[in-house]
């Protein structure tokens, strides 16, 4: 029988294979961990990407932002409160890196907020340890010029996930509430590619957009550029709570699945590299918030535990035994399942300090068939 890691490699394009070979030479430990993922999944172990939200500072105020409710500006303006909870520091980041490494986890995404406004961005990368983990950063592209892109590469960042919300300049700028942002994204694309950073374009799919020429244009643009277009469904959380009309229907998701045949476009549930995880809550992704809470998805504002009190290993185990989060499911839990959306809304309503702590939202008592109201 062919080993699972080789089977996974069979699904790679020549360009992806070349990138993996390059990584193997530069960072053999990281490359080996990435190669181990398929075998880990075959053994029933999980290897989630860890999104690190150390800071929520941001120079944008986007219509669909999932992190807006975590931001100090929102708490001050809307709730008239200050967040007095202890924030994570570099010692925490180092501990997170170590615990993740011990579990064989291999990938970190520095996110926010806008990571490239963080004064301690380089220090965070160093604390995560780019020789032990594959480091990715999210960005809105505003500050990503040639010099910054080369700098990111030099400190060990491997990949940039760049947000682009429309191929129509005016629409992108309006959605992002930032004139000039479209032009900056275009500049950032070239800067990232020129600096030999791996690049992913990231876009939010609101209801009906998948049927527009603009979306097809974006798919074509990404495919011609040779970069992947990661599509995130608009979720009814964060700033999008005020826009329930953004939430997609199954038809949107199904049309997108068909576009995957033609374009370099995918969602978090697209089967890739021989891995067919479906919804990736816990199994494929977790988020660490600025207060050390771990949530199972960037859009679910309920914690599985705080790493100051509980080990990463136990927090992941809580997630995997939760009936909403652990079992395989082909749809997006927070983006498509009406009952979970209702459950999430009920549990998070009234909380000014997100995420909802373990035991008050998620708990070991959760049931798929419990009454919501």
């Amino acid at each position: 029988m062919i080993p699972v890691e080789i089977l996974a490699d069979q699904n790679l394009t020549p360009a992806e294979k070349a990138k993996r070979e390059g990584l193997k030479l530069r960072k053999p430990y990281v490359a080996q961990k990435l190669a181990n993922i398929a075998a880990m999944e075959e053994r029933g172990e999980i290897s989630p990407i860890i999104r690190l939200e150390k800071s929520y500072l941001c120079n944008f105020q986007c219509t669909h932002c999932s992190a807006e409710y975590y931001m100090d500006r929102h708490k001050k303006k809307v709730f008239k409160i200050e967040d007095t909870r202890a924030k994570i520091d570099m010692d925490f980041v180092r501990r997170l890196s170590k615990e993740a490494d011990e579990l064989g986890l291999a990938r970190f995404v520095i996110t926010g907020g806008e990571p490239l406004v963080m004064k301690d961005f380089d220090e965070v990368v160093a604390a995560l340890d780019p020789d032990k983990h594959y480091i990715i950063t999210d960005t809105n592209g505003w500050f990503l010029d040639d010099e910054r892109a080369r700098h990111l590469k030099s400190i060990g960042v491997e990949k940039v996930q760049l947000s682009l919300d429309s191929m129509i300049e005016k629409d992108h700028d309006e959605f992002r509430n930032k004139p000039g942002s479209y032009k900056r994204v275009m500049r950032a694309i070239d800067a990232a590619l020129d600096a030999d950073l791996n690049l992913l374009l990231s876009t939010v799919l609101i209801k009906g957009r998948v049927k527009t020429q603009e979306f097809i244009d974006m798919c074509e643009f990404a495919t011609k550029k040779g970069v992947g277009l990661y599509v995130s469904y608009a979720k009814p959380t964060g700033s999008c709570s005020d826009h329930p009309e953004f939430v997609i229907e199954k038809e949107d998701a199904d049309i997108l699945r068909d576009l995957e045949k033609e374009y370099s476009v995918f969602t978090h549930m697209t089967p890739t590299y021989g891995s067919f995880k479906g919804c990736i809550t816990v199994k494929g992704i977790i988020t660490v918030t600025s207060t050390g809470e771990i949530t199972p998805c960037p859009y679910i504002d309920m914690s599985l535990g705080n790493m100051r009190e509980t080990s990463l290993k136990e927090i992941l185990a809580r997630g995997m035994r939760n009936p909403w989060l652990g079992p395989y499911r082909p749809d997006c839990l927070i983006g498509e399942d009406p009952k979970f959306i209702q459950f999430h809304a009920k549990k998070t309503t009234g909380y000014t300090q997100l995420p909802v702590p373990w035991g008050q939202g998620f708990s070991d008592k959760n049931s798929l068939t419990e009454d919501i109201i």
Binding site: L7, G44, K250, D254, F276, Y328, R329, P330
Partner: protein
């Protein structure tokens, strides 16, 4: 054996007397839509794509299949199964051979041909690239050996019921042993034939359909099984570790032969 009904009002097999993982209650989020039962069309697809030589007529196929339903209807403990989704199928005579090899060479390609003939804009993909020869065997207590034995002697007509919804694979096997003798846990040929005859079985536009396990078959590795699954408007065959756990989207099928 239980003395009350075996199936609930929606046709789901009611979990009873089993210890393996399963959901006692279901919110029916991952469900099937009943395909149209047109015996002539289903018969024609099965004959064409499975290459059935010397087939029975469509009328005979319909008569035998309907007789299965009639018997179930007469049984107060079992008749609720007819409230759920079901599709008739037919299997060619087949001397016992390697199940994995036969599935790969004959049945999966028949599912693909039938699906893509009906849904020309969509596709069927076999994501399992590592071959199936020598990898599948009949699970103990699945009763599936009866279907294989009958198929070795004559053309088989049956009805397929994807009614073991939200059962772990071991639970589906365990539950089958608690049911009346006519129920057999579905494996490779019957599940595939159900999809050849009714290629829209896993097509659902308003919501998500379940994953369809070939639960009657042990694979080359404990805790791993093979399954059919929709991907949007497309159909796939794949292999997945299930680790004997249950998921809301997992379903196995029962068959009754006639």
């Amino acid at each position: 054996m239980q003395t009350t009904e075996y199936f609930d009002i929606n046709g789901r097999c009611i979990p009873h007397g089993i210890t393996s993982e399963h959901h006692v209650k279901t919110r029916r989020y991952f469900v099937f839509e009943q395909p149209e039962i047109d015996y002539n069309t289903i018969h024609a697809r099965l004959v064409k794509h499975l290459g059935i030589e010397n087939p029975i007529t469509a009328q005979e196929f319909a008569k035998r299949a309907e007789k299965i339903l009639e018997k179930l209807r007469e049984d107060p403990q079992c008749r609720n199964i007819l409230n759920g989704v079901r599709v008739p199928f037919m299997l060619p005579v087949q001397e016992r051979t390697d199940i994995g090899e036969c599935l790969e060479q004959q049945y999966i390609s028949a599912v693909k041909a039938s699906f893509e003939e009906v849904f020309s804009k969509n596709s069927f993909t076999n994501h399992h690239k590592d071959g199936l020869t020598g990898k599948l065997s009949i699970a103990v207590d699945s009763r599936h050996e009866r279907l294989i034995a009958e198929q070795g002697e004559q053309l088989v007509v049956g009805y397929y019921f994807p009614c073991l919804m939200e059962y772990a694979v071991p639970a589906a096997i365990e539950q089958t042993g608690q049911l009346p003798e006519q129920f057999i846990l579905a494996g490779a040929y019957d599940t595939s034939a159900a999809l050849v005859g009714s290629p829209d079985l896993l097509l659902r536009k308003s919501g998500y359909p379940p994953v369809l396990w070939l639960a009657a078959l042990d694979s080359e590795k404990s805790g791993v099984s093979y399954h059919y699954e929709a991907y949007g408007y497309n159909l796939t065959f794949n292999r997945k570790p299930h680790f004997d756990r249950v998921a809301e989207s997992w379903t196995s099928g029962l068959v009754v032969l006639g």
